[in-house]
C-alpha cells in the first residue's frame, strides 16, 4: 500500500465576523489515495468549498486554519512557508472552480492563460521572467510557434475541445460554458498536478455537458493517474464517478465511506434525506421528497448534531456531541447517536414507526442517477 496523496486530520477553519466566530469547517478528517476520486457532498453552506480552499490555504485573511496536520505527498502544508505553498499550488495541486465564466481572465485568450501555467511550471525551455511575461501579455502575445503554446493547444485537444488551434486564440466569452470548463480543466492539467480539486465543476453546465465532463475527468484519472477531490451537491454525480465520499453538513462530516455502501445503505438521516431527494426512473411519487429547512447559522454554533433541527429522528441525546461510529464495512463511518450501540432500541423503534428508513436502504437508486 503506497502512502496516500493527501491526509487531512482534524481540520477546522473559522472566520471571525462581527457577530462572533463562524466555524465553516469543523473537525474534518479524510485521506485520499493516489488515483482516487474522492467526493465531498453537501448542500450550500456546508463547508465543502472552504475545505478545499483551506487545503490550498487560499482563504481570506480573516480566516483561521487549524488542523493536526495536512499531509500532501508526505509534506506538511501547515508548516510550509508561503513560497513553498506557492510552489505546490502551481505544480502539484490544480483546482477547477465552480463557475467557468468567472474563473478565466476575460481579457486574455484561453491559450495565453494555459501557456502561462505551462511556462510557470517550467516544463518547457522558455523564460517566464517578469518582463518577458509582461511583454507577452501587453505587446506580443505568446508566439503560436513556441513550445508553451503548442502544449496549451495539445492540452485543449486532450480535454476534448474541437479545433484546439483556433479555440486557443479565443477569449473566454467566445466559448460556451462547457468549453470554458474544459479550458479550466486544461489549465489545471497544465501544471501536471498530482491532485486536482474540482469544486462543483459541473454545476453551471447542462446535463449532457456534465456527463461529458465527468467522463473526461475519469479519463484523466486513467491517463495521468491524478487524484481528484470532487465537490458537489449532487449525490447522483458522486455515485457516477467517485470511489469514496464524505457527506458534510454545517461544516461537519456526517457520514463517510465507500460510495456504494453509503448510497445503498445510508445510515445518517441526512444522507437518507439527500438520497430521497434524487428523482428516480421508477418513481411513482407525485412530488419529490424535500428536506424542510435550511443549514443553521454557523456563527456561535451550539453543540450537538447540527442536523437535529431538520431531522425526523431527533431525540434527547442529539444536543450532545456524537462520536463517530464505524460501520460493518471497514470503510464506513457515521456521526449519529442513532448508531451508538447504547441507543439501539431507539433506532429500532423509530424504524418501525416510520418505515421510511427501511424502504430507503433496500430500494437501490440505480437507474435514478443522472447518466
Amino acid at each position: 500500500m503506497t502512502e496516500p496523496i493527501l491526509e487531512v486530520k482534524n481540520l477546522t477553519t473559522s472566520f471571525s465576523t462581527d457577530e462572533g466566530e463562524l466555524i465553516a469547517v469543523d473537525d474534518v478528517s479524510f485521506t485520499i489515495d493516489r488515483g482516487e476520486i474522492f467526493g465531498i457532498v453537501g448542500e450550500s453552506g456546508s463547508g465543502k468549498s472552504v475545505t478545499a480552499l483551506s487545503i490550498l490555504q487560499l482563504i481570506d485573511s480573516t480566516g483561521q486554519i487549524d488542523a493536526d496536520e495536512i499531509l500532501f505527498d508526505g509534506e506538511d502544508l501547515l508548516s510550509a512557508s508561503d513560497e513553498e505553498i506557492r510552489q505546490i499550488r502551481g505544480s502539484k495541486m490544480g483546482m477547477i472552480f465552480q463557475n467557468p465564466s468567472t474563473s478565466l481572465n476575460p481579457v486574455l485568450t484561453v491559450g495565453e492563460q494555459i501557456a502561462e501555467v505551462v511556462r510557470h511550471h517550467g516544463d518547457v525551455d522558455e523564460s517566464d521572467s517578469f518582463w518577458r511575461e509582461m511583454g507577452r501579455k501587453y505587446v506580443t502575445g505568446t508566439s503560436t510557434q513556441s513550445p508553451s503554446w503548442k502544449r496549451a493547444v495539445s492540452l485543449l485537444e486532450k480535454v476534448g475541445i474541437p479545433a484546439p488551434e483556433e479555440r486557443a486564440k479565443d477569449y473566454p466569452h467566445q466559448l460556451s460554458g462547457g468549453m470554458k470548463q474544459r479550458a479550466m480543466i486544461a489549465q489545471a492539467l497544465a501544471a501536471d498536478p498530482e491532485l486536482i480539486i474540482a469544486d462543483e465543476p459541473t454545476t453551471a453546465l447542462d446535463v449532457t455537458i456534465e456527463a461529458q465532463i465527468l467522463a473526461e475527468l475519469e479519463n484523466l484519472r486513467e491517463e495521468f493517474d491524478v487524484s481528484i477531490i470532487f465537490i458537489t451537491h449532487d449525490l447522483g454525480v458522486i455515485r457516477e464517478i467517485c470511489d469514496n465520499v464524505t457527506v458534510m453538513y454545517a461544516g461537519e462530516v456526517m457520514e463517510a465511506g465507500d460510495v456504494r455502501t453509503i448510497i445503498e445503505d445510508p445510515w445518517h438521516p441526512y444522507t437518507q434525506d439527500l438520497i430521497a431527494c434524487i428523482p428516480r426512473l421508477s418513481d411513482d411519487r407525485e412530488w419529490l421528497t424535500v428536506s424542510e429547512g435550511n443549514v443553521p447559522s454557523l456563527v456561535n454554533k451550539e453543540p450537538g448534531c447540527p442536523y437535529r433541527y431538520r431531522c425526523d429522528y431527533e431525540f434527547g441525546e442529539c444536543t450532545t456531541e456524537s462520536e463517530k461510529f464505524a460501520g460493518s464495512s471497514a470503510n464506513h463511518q457515521v456521526k449519529c447517536h442513532l448508531h451508538d450501540p447504547e441507543h439501539d432500541e431507539q433506532l429500532a423503534t423509530m424504524e418501525r414507526e416510520s418505515g421510511l428508513y427501511d424502504s430507503q436502504s433496500t430500494d437501490s437508486i440505480d437507474g435514478g442517477v443522472s447518466q
Binding site: H120, F130, K137, A191
Partner: protein, 305 residues
Amino acid sequence: MSHEKPPTGRFQGVVQYTQTVWNDSIALDRIRETTTHRKGQLGFLTVVGIALLAVFAPIVAPHDPQAIDGTPFIAPGMTGEHILGTDSYGRDIFSRLLYGGRISLVIGIGATGVAAVVGTIIGVISGYYGGLVDDVLMRFIDALWALPWLVLAILIISIFGRSITNVILIISIAYIDDFARIGRGEVLAIREEEYILAAKNIGLGDLSIMSGTVLPNMVGPIIVQFTIFTARAILVESALSFLGLGVSPATPTWGMMLGDGRDYIMDAWHIAILPGLAIVITTLGINLYGDALRDSFDVKQTRED
C-alpha cells in the same frame, strides 16, 4: 507568394521573427481594431495630423513664430501671406499655432502620462493589498489632493525656474490622485473576481497577478481617464502661462496665445478663437481615439457591438 524564393540565412530569421510578432501581437491587434471604428478613424487622423504638423512645424510654418514682421491685427483670410492673420504684435498666427502645438502636446500628453503611470501604480498596490498599505498610500494621495496645486506651482517655478519639465511635473502631481483613486476603485472590484483566486491557485506571485492579471482588466477606464485629462492638462498649462508660471514667455503655447488674445476679443476675435479652436480640435481628437481604444481593449464589448 509561393512563387517567390524564400529568403535565406540570418535575414530569413529576422523576417520570420517580424512576421510572427506581427501576426501574434495583441497590442497590434487592438490598434488594428481601432482602424475599423469610425470614431477611432476620425480621432486617429485628427491626432496624427496635429502631431505631424507640430513635429514638422519648422518645415510647414511660413514665418518665424517670433518675428514681428507684419501688420498687427490682420484678420484670417485677408492676405495670402498670413492665412490665419496676425496677432497684436503682427506675428503670424498660423506659424505660432504650429510651434505652440509642440509645447502644448508635449505638456498635455507628458504630464498626463506621468500622472497615469505613477497614479495607477499607487492605486493598484493600494487596492490589491488593502489594510495598512491601503491606508498609508491613500492618506498620501489625500494629502496630494488637499495641496493647492497653484501654491505648488508657485513653489516649484520659483525654486527651479520656468521650464517644460517643471510644468509637466506640476500638472502631473496635480493629477496623480485622480488616477490613483480610479485605479484603486477598479482593483477593489477586480480583486474579488474568481480569476484572481484562480491566478493565485496556479502559483503566481503578487507582482505577476497585479501587473499581469489585474492591470489588463482595468485598461479601459484608465485610457478614458487619460484622454480626458490630456485635454485638461493643455488647459491647465494655459492657466499657468497666463499667471506667468508656464514655459518661458518667448515660447508660444496655445494657452498663452489664448490668454494674449483675451484683451482684444471684441476687436480681433481671431487672436483668441484660433488657439481655442486648436485646443478643442486636439482634445476632441484625443477623446475620440480614446473611445475607440477603450472599445477595442474591452474584448467583451467589441463582441456585443
